[in-house]
Symmetry: C2
Subunit: 202 residues, 2 copies
DNA sequence: GAAGAATTTTACCGTCTGGTCAGCGAGGCT
DNA sequence: AGCCTCGCTGACCAGACGGTAAAATTCTTC
């Protein structure tokens, strides 16, 4: 199972995944075509299928890598830290991910929007378990009077919704703000900091 | 331009749009096929194309109806009302729409996610203008000291993100909450009320 | 109930899509 | 140099796709 043997394998697999991310995130799984991915990658379609057995497999490889990266900031929320600071750090890191990895955010959003047909297990499994763990931490903080009383899981949903919105609905955000405000993120960060501080401070 | 002349025309156009909403919202534009829509509608594919000139036209008809419905609650936000109550009402109505019209929410999300290729004009036009108007109202409330100081447009983004999240990421929300909590909405409403109250109260 | 219009179906077309296959070429090893 | 594996290509296929044409059916109106 040692996948990428040679240098050329590693390079081309990476090129393909990069192109596939570009196309899948913009079109969804069914909307994307192997020809599009091949063109973006600068490779021929049969060559794609030399490295991956099918369109499905390319998509699966992307999603497999993604969930780990995506949940890393939540994993790093420290039960020993100062509650509000921990949550604000999480919010900031998640917002940074929206800015720096919007395609990954959209890939994920596309998948979940369409009912997570290729990811259902990961959501009810790893994801649900991690959230359960962190919700318990938050519950502890609240019980200790170090954080305002909120529903822990809905708090996490709120963080996801608010931060990912800036990646997933980018065109809408920019369309509404107009050309005078070319980068929504600095203002978004101030706004979200204020929102969560006021919501959670005791 | 009086479209639906006979009863049968009106009924079949409606059947088709209902089926198209089902399919487009679950698959996106490119992912949906006329055969799928025809099957859901219980009509033959050529019969679909008797009522609508093309796949594009069906999609356009859906989106055209949608934006009006979608923005109605924001339009109804009353500049003469009590600021916090007006905003909480808006949040509640928007959350109700997520619960009662999740397919419409997902149709919209799919479109925007993929760069709003068939809706760009409406976003930078009508939508941006309406938000500008309402942002001015909010700015007035803040200046009068009747609402906490927040960025008006990012406040509106927050309302959209938080409420639509429950429709667009439904499988994720339910997957994380688990089967013990079959209806996320009552808790979501309490959570969002608390969030916006704490955020906005002076 | 016949005429004529509105609706629906059958059969079909050209294009696109995911995927296959036989072979060609390039690299590395002895 | 010769061999052999790895990497790559062009031609192709079967099915799905959006859409069309014309005939068949149903509905309305007199």
């Amino acid at each position: 199972m040692t996948r990428p043997r040679t240098r050329i394998q590693r390079r081309n697999r990476e090129t393909i995944l990069e192109a596939a991310l570009e196309v899948f995130s913009a079109q969804g799984f069914r909307g994307a075509t192997l020809d599009q991915i091949a063109e973006v990658a600068g490779l021929s379609k049969p060559n794609l299928l030399y490295y991956f057995p099918s369109k499905e497999a390319i998509h699966a490889a992307l999603l497999g890598d993604l969930l780990d990266i995506w949940l890393q900031p939540l994993r790093e929320m420290d039960p020993e830290g100062e509650p509000l600071a921990e949550i604000l750090t999480y919010v900031r890191r998640k917002l940074q991910m929206s800015r720096d990895m919007p395609r990954e955010s959209r890939l994920f959003a596309n998948e979940v929007l369409q009912g997570a047909p290729r990811m259902g297990a990961a959501i009810t499994g790893d994801l649900a378990a991690l959230v359960e763990t962190k919700a318990a931490v938050i519950r502890g903080w609240i019980a200790a009077g170090r954080l305002a009383d909120v529903h822990p899981k809905h708090l996490i949903f709120s963080i996801w919704a608010l931060t990912q919105h800036y990646a997933d609905f980018d065109v809408q955000v920019r369309g509404v703000l107009g050309p005078a405000e070319p980068d929504p993120y600095p203002e978004a960060e101030r706004h979200l900091e204020r929102l969560f501080t006021r919501m959670l401070a005791v």
